[in-house]
Amino acid sequence: MIHIPVLRAGKPYRSLSVNRIPHVETGQPFAEVSQANRGLIARDLLDVRKSKRALEALTVAELLAICKRAATLFMEAELPIGDATQSPEDYVTQTSATTGLPQTLVRRNMDKVRLNMDEMEAILGGLTRGLDLSILDFGWGVQDNRRLSYAVEANALGAILPSNSPGVHSLWIPAIALKVPVVLKPGSGDPWTPFRIVQALIEAGCPREAFNYYPCAYDGATEILLRTERSMLFGGASTVKAWENDHRVQIHGPGWSKVVIGDDRADSWEDYLDLIAESVAANGGRSCINASGVWTTRHGRELADALAVKLAQIQARPLDHPDAEIAAFANPKVAERISDMIDSQLKTPGATDLTLKHRGTPRFAQLGECGFLNPTVIWCDDPTHSLANTELLFPFVSVVEAPQEEMLERMGSSLVVTALTDDQSFIRDLLASPHVDRLNLGAIPTNRISWDQPHEGNLFEHLYRQRAFQATA
């Protein structure tokens, strides 16, 4: 069985505690992941300054070159994994096997990660708003006739990572180029992606000390969040709640992303069907940037019905099928429970599942040992219905009708809003709303990310603070 070790300042460590992760198609143990105990993490982090010094010895330019080489290695090379090696194809099948993501989607995500490392210079440009990056090497510099100095706020970036989509790992990689070591807790279903990224970066010349990789239980994750001066935390609402008021922790919770159609465009809803379908279902509907709500002032029912016809064409397929578009649940019972929960909430008047009649098969589907949830479109004629603002780990969307002036109030917070409107007053309200994180004005699907426009917090601003600086010379 493949074994994935802990990495302590880059050095592999085989723990006596292991987590065996099952293959979603067979339910049988597929890989063995060493587990770091809480105290081991705490002890290692006492020395994390040393890891930081190793990265400080390189310039940002050198680190950008390393990222570029790592991009190719991540995509093409045979890289170490435990006592074995992993080819790119191995990575695809292994990640698919334990996350349930179809192999086609793993490949697409793999390319996102490659692109992130390859385009790191542009990403840092976006994060730093065009800062001369050599200022980070020397501590200060002059740009546009202004003296600038930045102080790093952390000896390491902690990252409590998810398993839902490999592409999400693009969010922590810039820390390396910004000279900050990482302390990673992989999601239990996807230990593969962060491990392969780390191996690619090491192979490309990055000091191995910059990487701590700790598969662990909740207490280990807590330790990482407590011990690293800056961190990012991915998780559901209940997981992130305890850390919401800790400025050291950047929260990546549920997205509740939405497509909003202004009153001026409501009659043109048919023009946006493809955009909405992509926003809901791309990447298996598993990302926080997938839309879980469509808000419009009228024609909601017709829109929902047409969207249901479109999404009902997506059906569960084997993970290695070239046209597979939705992911299997690692535990089919979880999928069944989610489906039951939706049905139970549908008993409350004000919401209807429109996909069932068009698909003709139930929402829950079983292929072999795999459990799937087929795309689901809910028509909510009551904007206060509990399903009107629900995010689930599959292509699930509620179409809600509400007056434009009430929309922003009723919608709650949204990671991404794609606003389809030319109404300047409505646009001003959207721009002013503290509940909208990323705003796409115009026909841009919610899942289309421009890497130079960071959302859910800016990693550079999370890690660095501009320092007041004067010098006599």
């Binding site: 006596l16 002890r43 006492l46 969040l225 305890a242």
Partner: protein, 362 residues
Amino acid sequence: MEILSPTLTKQVAESRERLDAQVREVVQWHFDPDKGTPFWIEYAEKLDFDPRKEIGGYDDLKMLGHFEDEWLRGGPVRRWVPKAYADKPIYVFETGGSTGLPKNRISIRDFHLDYEMFSDSLSDDGFPKGADWLMLGPTGPRRLRLAVEHLAQTRGGICFHVDMDPRWVNQLIRDGKFQELDAYKAHVINQALKILRAHEGIACMFTTPKLLEALCERISLEKVGIKGIFCGGTEMNAQFNRFAREELVPGVDFQPTYGNTLMGLAMSKPFDTADNYAIIYYPPVPRAFIELVDPDDPERTVDYGETGRVMLTTLTKEFFVPRFLERDEAERAMPIEKFPWDGVQNVRLLTTLQDSVVVGVY
């Protein structure tokens, strides 16, 4: 299955005879209408047999069913005091770290005896006679606080203490107040550091796995003169045992233990590299016995090496707990010469409870 040597086979048989004799004596004692324990005398009235006549050994305890720890919640607590001991000074200890209605266990001298037995198993190199102790673990209404002090006194030492309230720790975890939890831990550790630095005579200590980790982040225990650590209070696995021996306290006599207020203290098999850091515990037979049973069929004892649910029996004249199904599971381990009866390996929370119970918090 490993074959036992003839000597060990004989020792196992002898220990079993002692266990059966202890069962007979304890059943006679607790069910005696004149001198016995009110709870058990009343319990016997509901039975269609007389335990004193029918129970002749450990296996016959099946006739009593399983002890339910819910019986220990609430009063009157004196129903657990044998009439023969009614005029003795009585301690009451509470189990667990939860904030529900506490479970109580009465005690008179049991905790002294248990820890005197444990003392006999400690080496004088790791736990020198006359050395002072630091007790860094749960205090308050817990047996451990007085027991460790008695252990220190038994070995001629004086025991220093730091207050630690595991129920507050539990509450902070339930509320997701991790920063407060960290601050409380630092508060506890700071007090321990002051004591260790101020009292050079301290060479031994009791602490829990998590407090040991936290303490070792701040100080080298070997450098401040600690020679032996008795560790317990919460679950420990092989990885922790290895981590402690290799990184936290190399060179210190590290003694992991498994125990609780109901049973007393199970000692661990002397460290052997062949065990790959697995911790194997042996209960203090005949005062207590652990049987590993099929979680779905507690009447079936599992085979050696097989995983089973911990079923605990306590057999003292102060307290009788027959066949209590603990919330732990483990693998059944073979008898050894030092402990010629069954042991338990890799004790951990029952798989079925692992998502619902807060354990190992202090």
